[in-house]
């Protein structure tokens, strides 16, 4: 199977499942074919497969590997875009080398249309993140920039400028939308929202019906940390948005697709409401695995989340995250990120150690 043929199949599957329909058998078959091709074409993945011998069938590549090796089937000169993980030390940052942006865009558009904007073609966006020209290596900024094009009205607002949170355009946008009776979508990082709310110093809003909030990315030590429940409650109280319209997005630099919580779509579209959970789009498989055997753990048991993302055709389709999760219904419940590879008895972080050696 050639890359061209696999790409055609990936595009066809993403487009076919964009409306939320599922065909897990087709997905799994294509994942197997893509992994078999990547095991021949992506050198770090080939090494991982060789190291695990035949004991484990097509393992997932840990996200840490993206910090230490180029994970790509193509040479650097064919990179269309490189997204990098955030980092605060001299330690290596993870890099995702994309050969093309079309697969990324298709996946991002389809998943967001289904889970985040199922009801309105366009709406006012307030983006709590740096704009893409200020953070060209941030996959989140790129994604939000695309959202502004695809789903935003002409009055979308970026809340971060020159690496600083700028409150006045945010307040202006929220006031204007409220006065005009327009719903608003606030999209950004969890730590960005904490800083925004702290900056508002107790000021609250009563955003119009169908307003919504999407938060992503955890706190990364860049703000005070809140539990998911406390964070949702704070967002609801500050912006006057009902809890079911506040959802988390699960994504990472190393993935091209995004996963969203189900409650917003369920509430707006009258879908069957189940427990709050992260639901993968049809071209993504998300399963918690046993960290020692790498086999899927039974539903309800805690494992380490493995994500197989067919939009990652040119890098690593099978991503082994460090997130603990349990399978719930048709999705997963995230239980938080495991601490990094830090020695148990040592408070030196891996970043500090690697940074000091670089």
């Amino acid at each position: 199977m050639t890359r061209r043929a696999l790409r055609e199949r990936c595009v066809e599957l993403i487009d076919r499942l964009a409306d939320g329909t599922r065909n897990d058998a087709a997905r799994d078959l294509l994942i197997s074919d893509v992994l078999a091709w990547q095991a021949r074409s992506v050198p770090p993945y080939a090494k991982l497969v060789a190291a695990h011998g035949s004991a484990i069938d097509l393992p997932a590549l840990p996200t840490e590997v993206f910090r230490f090796a180029r994970v790509a089937a193509h040479p650097p000169e064919l990179d269309a875009r490189v997204f990098r993980t955030s980092g605060t030390t001299a330690a290596p940052r993870g890099a995702h080398h994309l050969r093309e942006l079309d697969l990324y865009d298709r996946a991002a558009h389809a998943a967001a249309r289904h889970a985040l904007f199922p009801d309105l073609p366009r709406m006012r966006l307030v983006l709590v993140a740096p704009p893409v020209h200020e953070a060209p290596e941030s996959s989140l900024s790129y994604m939000l920039d695309r959202f502004a094009d695809w789903f935003g009205s002409t009055r979308s607002t970026w809340a971060v400028r020159d690496d600083r949170l700028d409150l006045s355009p945010v307040i202006g946008a929220l006031e204007e939308a409220t006065a005009a009776g327009e719903p608003v979508a606030l999209l950004g990082t969890s730590f960005g929202f904490v800083h925004l709310i702290d900056g508002l110093a107790g000021r609250t809003f009563a955003l119009r019906p169908r307003s919504r909030i999407m938060q992503t990315g955890g706190f990364k030590g860049r703000s005070r940390e809140l539990s998911p429940q406390a964070m949702r409650a704070l967002l609801c109280a500050t912006f006057g948005v009902p809890e079911e319209l506040v959802i988390a997005e699960y994504g990472m630099t190393e993935m091209s697709s995004q996963l969203y919580e189900n409650t917003l779509r369920d509430a707006l579209m009258g879908d069957d409401a189940g427990p709050r959970r992260i639901c993968p789009p049809g071209w993504v498989r998300a399963v918690p695995v046993d960290p020692e055997t790498l086999v899927h753990v039974p539903a309800g048991e805690v494992g380490v989340l493995r994500v197989d993302d067919l939009a990652n055709l040119d890098t690593a389709c099978a991503i082994q995250t460090a997130d603990l999760a349990r399978a719930v219904s048709d999705g997963v419940e995230l239980l938080g990120r495991a601490p990094g590879a830090t020695p148990r008895g040592c408070s030196l972080t891996m970043d500090a150690v690697l940074g000091a050696q670089s």
Partner: protein, 415 residues
């Protein structure tokens, strides 16, 4: 065995009693204190004794270590507490110094960590040998051994046992911490950097602060230890024990093995370590792997497989990662082997670990140990030992480059 959180009055009452017992302790003979300590150590080392059996029955559950690992840890820690070693600590700490008179601390407070469950056998005993009453704040996750130790001392010698107390409450319980530190002349703290920082900010300015931050260990295998396969296999067996001990959760646990090129190829040596870890899986099995540590292990092993060679087995892994940047493992019996050209390079590569490097095993004779110690750049000050000894230091060893009795005595100078 975890107790209910004490009230402030209760805690202050216990501390008051300890202080009251201090004068009796200070007039007690070293021989009497040492006798009580060695009797207790013998009991912990003996699986057939009442306290030895109780410890071996409870600790696998509370620590997450396997039964054989708990037995090994208790036996080796107790074996180091010979009468000679115990008396030597007392004598060395209190030996007369010309023109100086010893002034004992009135009370030592020790904040224990939960990663190495036998640590209280040193932290709670050394103050007694220097004739200083001690109160230990045990890890809120597991206070089994501190309580068993206190009770065993009280049984062996009620007067000595009256000078040791144990309390447990969640870290950051400010009113209890204030009570715990208020009357201490010296506060020893075991924990990660955050704990050290937090406690340091809360102890009275008049108390001496003795931090024991978390850390890790490394090993150096010079080419002289790799002359032929049998020698290399013997070294591999010993370093594997340093990895397996306490499931690599200790602050002296071995995370990185730096090997000087020799007759035996370095990847082959890494495989020998893996084979030895496999063998230890039967005699000293690893405890269950928690999910969070399993997640970190998956990441670590994945990187190892990609940047070098990975030798995995049931409950362990060894990697060979050439001369790439050193990378501590997540513990739970995962260790990396690196190439290292010489001692100068060894110091250079270990330097970033600074005070966190607590132990360095060197597969060479004492003269080479001396030479390597002298060649290490500051601020490195690890304990240097033979492979196989990293997690069983002699009783009374230095801790963090300082005497284990630091702060328990001050000296009155007479001009």
């Amino acid at each position: 065995m975890t107790r209910a959180v004490p009230g402030r009055d209760e805690l202050e009452g216990k501390i008051g009693e300890l202080l009251d017992h201090g004068s009796a302790l200070r007039s007690m003979s070293i021989e009497r204190i040492a006798a009580a300590v060695t009797e207790v150590a013998r009991a912990f080392g003996d699986a057939g004794s009442s306290v030895g059996a109780e410890a071996r029955s409870i600790l696998p559950t509370t620590t997450g270590l396997s039964g054989p690992m708990v037995d090994w840890a208790l036996s080796t820690a107790a074996a180091s507490m010979t009468p000679e070693a115990v008396e030597a600590v007392a004598e060395l700490a209190t030996r007369a110094r010309p023109g100086l008179v010893a002034a004992h601390a009135r009370l030592a407070t020790v904040v224990l960590a939960g990663n190495v469950f036998t640590a209280p056998l040193t932290s709670m005993i050394v103050p007694l040998l220097v004739r200083v009453p001690v109160i230990a704040k045990a890890s809120s996750a597991d206070d089994t051994l501190p309580l068993l130790l206190r009770d065993a001392l009280r049984k062996a010698d009620p007067d000595v046992g009256a000078c040791v107390e144990v309390t447990t409450f969640p870290g950051g319980t400010l009113d209890l911490e204030r009570a715990l530190f208020a009357r201490a002349d010296v506060v020893g703290v075991h924990g990660n950097d955050d704990t050290i920082r937090d406690v340091r900010a809360r102890i009275p300015s008049t108390a001496l602060f003795v931090p024991h931050g978390h850390g890790l260990g490394a090993a150096f295998v010079p080419s002289s230890a790799l002359v032929e396969p049998k020698m290399a296999a013997d070294v591999a067996e010993q370093v594997a024990l340093d990895v397996a001990a306490y499931d690599q959760r200790g602050c002296m646990s071995l995370h990185m093995i730096l090997v000087e090129p020799g007759s035996v190829q370095i990847p082959a040596f890494a495989q020998m370590v893996a084979r030895s870890l496999g063998a230890l899986g039967s005699t000293l099995p690893r405890g269950p792997l928690p999910a969070a540590e399993g997640a970190a292990q998956l990441q670590w092993r994945g990187v190892a497989a990609v940047r070098g060679e990975l030798f995995e087995g049931d409950g362990f892994a060894t990697s060979y990662e050439g001369d790439t940047a050193l990378r501590p493992s997540p513990g739970w019996r995962n260790v990396s082997v690196y190439r290292c050209s010489n001692v100068h390079e060894l110091g250079k590569r270990l330097e970033p670990f600074g005070v966190h490097l607590k132990a360095l095993a060197v597969a060479a004779d004492a003269a080479r140990h001396q030479a390597i110690a002298a060649a290490l750049p500051p601020p490195l000050a690890p304990r240097i030992c033979e492979p196989g000894q990293m997690q069983r230091p002699p009783f009374g060893s230095t801790a963090d480059g300082a005497d284990c009795w630091t702060g328990l005595l001050r000296w009155i100078q007479i001009d």
